[in-house]
Amino acid sequence: MDAAFTSRHPRLRELLLTLKILSRNPSAVAGALIIGIMAFMGFSADLLAPFDPIRINLSERLNPPGWGHLFGTDEMGRDILSRVMHGARISLRIGFMVVAAAGMTGSFIGAAAGFLGGRIDNLIMRVMDVVLSFPPLVLAMALAAAMGPSLNNAIMAVAFVMVPKFARIVRGEALAVKEMPYIAAARVSGAKNFWIIFNHILPNCMNSVVVLATLTLGETILIAASLSFIGLGAQPPAPEWGAMISVGRKFVMDQWWYATFPGLFILFTVIGFNILGDALRDVLDPRIRR
């Protein structure tokens, strides 16, 4: 065993072990690689992108893919490659913001509901049931429409929709964790409810949350792109993928490249998160781990 795995820092050791197991899982590596490439492209789009994603150049309208513009140009003569590269930043930002917001809120709500039980649980879960009674896209659409079309509103809408997912899964876990003898031991030692939630319940739900978060990242990117496609998300001239497809749709019969490339980028990004999430689920599953 490497020195790192016998490290005195237990968390680091666990993390390294997890990474080591992950690195032996081909789909995890593939997923991480895709996300890594997307993230790299997004963050260094300013340096990498051959053209300005916003600036219009009307004399180059709707050029097909070629050496000058690998992915062709759009109806304003902007380079589609540059735009999809910048789009990576937007989509990843949406994904991470939504998941961070929904993950934290949902996890806490779920942990509290599951652990405290009784009326609080009932109330919280009924509210969650109401939110869950809508197909996610439909609710996000209604919310985004209500708040007005903008990227930030779309993020809030999607986050709102995603909260019950986390709440439900964490609640389920919390119900199981709650019955574990170590919770009883903590009680016997005098721990109070919120201490137990933060020190036992939430950390022990982390694996599921991480897996769910990864999968939700993919789903979020899809829903956000769908909202943008309907016109309720990112606003032009922002190079958001869904919005690009929305405009590209008008040109799809003659200028196939316009809608095709942003779609491929969405597809691959979401695939990245999905296969990484699946692999994480396999790896983090304690039954396999121990």
């Binding site: 896209l137 309907i230 016109g231 695939i271």
Partner: protein, 336 residues
């Protein structure tokens, strides 16, 4: 008898959820910016005309009062009038629901018909090539933006190959079949109009496939993983130790058990189908509720949005209720 009581109890349990749904829907739609009275009046209307409409539609009342009016209307099956076309929303939904139903049912048949066998196959051939291919297929499924897939299908099959039609439920000159269910394929069959049936079928292929792909992938995954779970259980070992053949073990012992989680998830991810329908209908100009609601959103026709959202969540809740009943039926350990 016990199952009836169980259904009744589940129904009662659904009521507060539905009440919550109406509240949420109502307040969302009233947060929508844009003055409905102005919308009703039209683009060049004078101020007095707008005020008059505001009064006559009760739009000047406080929100809680408007909510009460809304709910009492709801109970009588009145979802209000669309701002866009001044029709009762219920009428609109009646017109557009069958198309969505036809599309989702077609997609559903495709999903279950393909997804279940595929999932079983993948589970049985776990970690073999079949399994890997199935997983790739389903990962692509859950990762593909429906609207983009639709566009690509159109590009290929309509624009480039010209094999399949690009929009609508029927060709332009085809008379819709007599209305029984509102689903053209079914109605045409019932009326014995073979040519119309063929035409309707011809039109539904692309949208149904596009819509089904995501859901199909989900079903395949669920069947696969629940089959794998069940196949690892002790009673499967017992069955093996008793000399049962793999086919019987998989198709009888494992499958019935794996159906239990599958049915649940099928219900829960029904929402994906509904969400997908919105996008699919938009892409394929399928005159269903999805397209209706997108048009409503663009027009901020809040009674329309509200009616659709309510309708969908009602369908969704009912589907999940049905699923619960099937679940209880499948699973003898559940006590109802």
């Amino acid at each position: 008898m016990r199952i009836l009581r169980y259904i009744l109890r589940r129904l009662l349990y659904v009521l507060p959820v539905l009440l919550g749904v109406t509240i949420l829907v109502f307040f969302i739609s009233h947060a929508i910016p844009g003055d409905p009275a102005q919308m009703i009046a039209g683009p060049k209307a004078s101020r007095q005309a707008v005020e008059e409409i505001r009064r006559s539609h009760g739009l000047d009342k406080p929100l809680p009062i408007q909510y009460l009016r809304f709910v009492s209307g709801l109970v009588q099956g009145d979802l209000g009038r669309s701002i866009r076309n001044h029709r009762p929303v219920v009428e609109d939904l009646k017109d557009f629901l069958p198309a969505t139903l036809e599309l989702t049912l077609a997609a559903m048949i495709l999903c279950l018909g393909v997804g279940i066998p595929l999932g079983i196959l993948a589970a049985v051939k776990r970690n073999k090539l079949t399994d890997h291919l199935t997983r790739v297929f389903s990962v692509f499924g859950v990762s593909t933006p429906v609207f983009w897939l639709g566009l690509m299908l159109l590009l290929l099959f309509y624009r480039n190959l010209g094999w399949l039609p690009g929009s609508g439920r029927l060709d332009i000159m085809v008379q819709p079949p007599p209305q029984f269910t509102g689903m053209y394929t079914l109605d045409a069959l019932l009326a014995g109009q073979w040519a119309t049936f063929a035409n309707a079928l011809w039109h539904i292929i692309l949208p149904a496939f596009c819509l089904s792909y995501v859901y199909l992938a989900i079903i395949t995954r669920i069947v696969r993983s629940s089959m794998i779970g069940v196949l690892g259980q002790d009673f499967i070992t017992t069955a093996r130790a008793n000399g049962l053949s793999e086919a019987i073990i998989v198709l009888k012992h494992a499958f019935k058990n794996s159906l239990i989680p599958t049915v649940t998830i099928t219900g829960l991810s029904f929402g994906e189908l509904m969400g997908g329908a919105i996008l699919t209908e938009t892409i394929f100009a399928w005159p269903g509720m999805g397209k209706y609601v997108v048009d409503s959103v663009n027009y901020l026709d809040f009674p329309g949005i509200m009616g659709f959202t309510l309708m969908v969540s009602l369908v969704y809740v009912l589907v999940n209720l049905t699923v619960d009943v099937i679940y209880a039926f499948l699973n003898p350990t559940i006590r109802y």
